[in-house]
């Protein structure tokens, strides 16, 4: 009897694949269905945003930041605007701050809706995805009302906003928030509590807090591992210290702390918390105030550098901006959360099956535009 000869197979997942959330390529070394090594190959969407930024005036960089994380353009713009404002030392009108928080949190809901929906799609549930997108459309309607665009807004400008919100916006946002809670219950019914879904996500891709911090994982993925680190709480920027909200942490309800299900569920809970923040911000929103009053005529930050971090839906979004006193930034480095979040996949994905790698990838919620920049 000769011994059965078995060897590992290299499987190319992507760059054209339904579940790689863009043009990501994963080189999987597989032993049957078991994956023994994952090597992400990125860069297919590289547009050199940072090189662009070095040739453009400060305000002209804003649309490009939105195009990096295209699912959370408001958050990206907010972070960049705050970084430059910090260099300039601008005091913003109250109304601007409140509106920015409202938009950033609405964007967080929209982005998490995509994350939750596509995670469902990755494990085979198609319908919740459509439901999530239905709610996302309502948020995009609100954005369209305010900025005129549905995906890439260029709405948050350095020192203010492009326009004030139109009349009726506040009422419409309240309307959305009122309906939203019921929708979340619906997702929980159809997906969160579903036994098949739990089987697919629980105990899969467990990320311990040590691994998460060491790999620079941030955002909901880190909090699912039980690390209470939300920049909105630990280092409140903008006016986040005025709102009362909880930071949902992974508790391992269905399995181990830090598994894919926790990462998913933290996002579901965060949507509710964001809705809470939006509601509070709407309640406190000052009626008066010119959103354009603080926009500087010429943006020439003093010589120096700043690293500003904010909590984007995907995690810590950092902007490292260097100025030499001219109207063009010397260097804009975007510390993209998804870039670090993706790098952990080999660590947490080894020893699982091909289907699980898809689930883990979905639970990390990556956006390739931001990874490749």
């Amino acid at each position: 009897m000769g011994r059965l000869h078995a060897e590992e197979m290299v499987l190319n997942m992507g760059p054209q694949h339904p579940s790689t959330h863009g043009v990501l390529r994963l080189k999987l070394t597989t032993d049957g269905e078991i994956v023994s090594h994952i090597e992400p190959v990125i860069g297919y969407l590289h547009r050199s945003f940072e090189k662009h930024a070095e040739n453009l005036e400060y305000q002209m960089v804003t649309p490009f930041t939105g195009r990096c994380d295209y699912l959370a353009a408001m958050g990206s713009e907010h972070g960049y605007a705050m970084a430059v404002e910090k260099m300039l030392g601008i005091e913003l009108p109250e109304r601007v701050e409140y509106l920015r928080v409202i938009f950033a949190e609405l964007q967080r809901i929209a982005s998490h809706l995509v994350a939750v929906g596509t995670f469902g799609l990755d494990v085979g549930a198609i319908t919740p995805f459509i439901y999530c997108f239905r709610e996302r459309e309502l948020i995009l309607d609100l954005f369209e009302m305010a900025s005129g665009a549905r995906l890439l807004y260029n709405y948050i400008w350095i020192g203010g906003l492009a326009h004030d919100v139109p009349p009726g916006f506040v009422e419409k946002t309240y309307e959305f928030l009122d309906a939203f809670d019921e929708r979340v219950t619906e997702y929980n019914q159809i997906l969160t509590g579903n036994k098949i879904f739990i089987e697919r996500a629980a105990d899969i891709g467990v990320m311990t807090p040590e691994v998460a911090i060491n790999y620079g994982v941030t955002g909901p993925s880190l909090r699912a591992s039980g690390v209470n680190l939300d920049i909105r709480k630990t280092q409140p920027y903008s006016i986040y210290d005025r709102f009362d909200f909880d930071v949902p942490l992974g508790e391992g309800i269905q399995g181990t702390v830090g598994d894919s299900w926790d990462r998913y569920y933290v996002r579901v809970l965060e949507m509710k918390e964001s809705a809470k923040i939006v509601r509070q911000a709407l309640d406190q929103l000052p009626v008066e105030g010119d959103v354009k009053s603080a926009i500087p005529r010429r943006i020439r930050p003093p010589k120096g550098e700043v690293y500003f971090r904010s909590e984007n839906p995907r995690g810590e979004l950092g902007y490292y901006v260097v100025s030499n006193g001219k109207n063009v930034p010397l260097r804009v480095k975007m510390r993209s959360p998804a870039f670090s979040n993706l790098s952990v996949i080999n660590e947490i994905g080894q020893g699982f099956m091909i289907s699980d790698v898809i689930a883990i990838l979905g639970s990390l919620d990556i956006v390739l535009g931001e990874i490749d920049r």
Binding site: P18, E33, V123, I126, T127, R134, N194, R200, S355
Partner: protein
């Protein structure tokens, strides 16, 4: 049906000159063509229905452009598929690549030969009909493995291997649940199985709720068996939540990845043929086939009355979104009650067996399959095996024993 068709042909004076064998051959050809036409049209209709059902469940509209409400959409799609370039990958194993889809299609079409559509409408009245259907339909896996291997694509190979493992695993519980029914009837002939479900009786024969004498209501064990069979059959035809061989988010399209145009259409055709076949089997084995749900004409009126009462209670007490669903059965049953009381002829028609009832039951089962598909996520391959070997198989074996005990206790068999 073939014999009667041949006899009918020979009954004409002009044609009686031809030999018995020629008439037989002609009718054989006609019947096969009819079955194939049924399968093809069925697929086109079902694809449209599936798209509409999924759309409604997903708050969409579905196809709306081609024809009124998009009714001709799948016809257009089929025409498009026929026109497509026939691509065979360079490194593919060409003969297998070409044969694979056809084997799958043939295996799923041939099974319809034994399926009784009504008391007279069936191609071949085999005394081993059930065995024939179950065994032939598992040839499909051969074609799937061929297609997956021949594509020379790692994704296809994964899909084929998964499919082979899955179909073979689920054959066993499915077979055992069917054996439970066969044990009750004592025959493998599908017509005999249906005829054994005529009339009406109480639920499980002793709870005083008048119900049709279907095997699903025969005993608690067969009630359970019907659901086990439905689950196993869903897995056998590779539909969600057991669609891992072609799970589009993992394996791109599984064993179909490299196929396009007509060959891909064949996969589609056989997929829906299989779904229909499973629905037929559930209807025949557990839901009384072409028997009417109303055992007799008085029974029709009483049953409808009960449905109405239940619906009214439901509407009153369940005030959720789902509770409002009962409006539909309520309205329907009220309509039928009124019609049945006013027109006794209608009641008689309702209680008589026929093709209509068969197709209604099949449609219901297919809708159930679609409902599953558009609600559930997909299992992982090892979980699928777990469900098969550790959940469904033990339950079905216990169930089989339970059926035997039940029959012994109820005096249907004696030792």
């Amino acid at each position: 049906m073939i014999q009667s068709l041949a006899n009918w042909i020979l009954s004409f004076d002009i044609l009686s000159g031809m030999g018995q064998s020629i008439a037989w051959g002609i009718s054989l050809f006609v019947v096969s063509a009819l079955i194939f036409a049924f399968v093809a049209v069925n697929a086109i209709v079902l694809v449209y229905i599936e798209r509409k059902v999924s759309a409604f469940m997903q708050v969409r509209l579905g196809p709306m452009r081609v024809g009124k409400f998009g009714t001709l959409q799948t016809v257009a799609d089929a025409l498009k598929l026929l026109q497509k370039e026939d691509i065979i990958p360079e490194k593919a194993d060409k003969p297998l690549f070409v044969i694979g889809p056809w084997i799958i299609l043939v295996a799923s079409v041939v099974t319809f030969a034994a399926i009784p559509f009504s008391d007279t409408l069936l191609a071949a009245n085999m005394n081993i009909g059930l065995f024939y259907v179950v065994s032939i339909s598992s040839i499909v896996v051969l074609g799937i493995v061929m297609a997956g291997w021949a594509s020379n694509n790692k994704w296809s190979l994964y899909g084929a291997m998964r499919s082979a493992a899955q179909i073979i695993s689920y054959e066993i519980p499915v077979g055992i649940t069917l054996i439970a029914v066969v044990a009750v009837v004592g025959s493998l002939n599908l017509q005999t199985i249906i005829q054994a479900q005529a009339g009406s009786s109480n639920l499980f024969h002793w709870i005083p709720i008048p119900l049709p004498n279907w095997f699903i209501f025969h005993s608690p064990f067969l009630f359970l068996a019907s659901f086990i069979y439905l689950i196993g059959a869903t897995a056998e035809i590779n539909r969600t939540p057991f669609d891992i061989p072609e799970s589009e988010s993992e394996l791109v399209a599984g064993f179909m990845t490299e196929f396009s145009g007509l060959r891909w259409a064949l996969f589609f055709l056989s997929e829906y043929a299989n779904a229909t076949l499973v629905a037929f089997l559930v209807a025949i084995v557990f839901l009384g086939g072409w028997q009417s749900p109303f055992a007799d004409y008085k029974g029709a009126q009483i049953s409808l009355l009960i449905v109405t009462l239940v619906s009214i209670m439901w509407t009153i007490f369940v005030k959720t979104k789902v509770g409002r669903l009962s409006v539909y059965p309520l309205g329907l049953s009220l309509l039928l009650v009124v019609a049945a009381w006013l027109f006794p002829g209608f009641a008689v028609w309702l209680s008589s067996p026929g093709l209509f009832w068969m197709l209604m039951k099949v449609a219901f089962i297919i809708f159930l399959l679609m409902w599953f598909r558009w609600t559930f996520p997909r299992l992982r391959v090892d979980q699928l095996m777990y469900v098969s070997w550790k959940v469904i198989l033990p339950i079905s074996i216990v169930n089989l024993m339970g059926v035997a005990v039940w029959m012994w206790l109820s005096g249907e068999i004696q030792f």
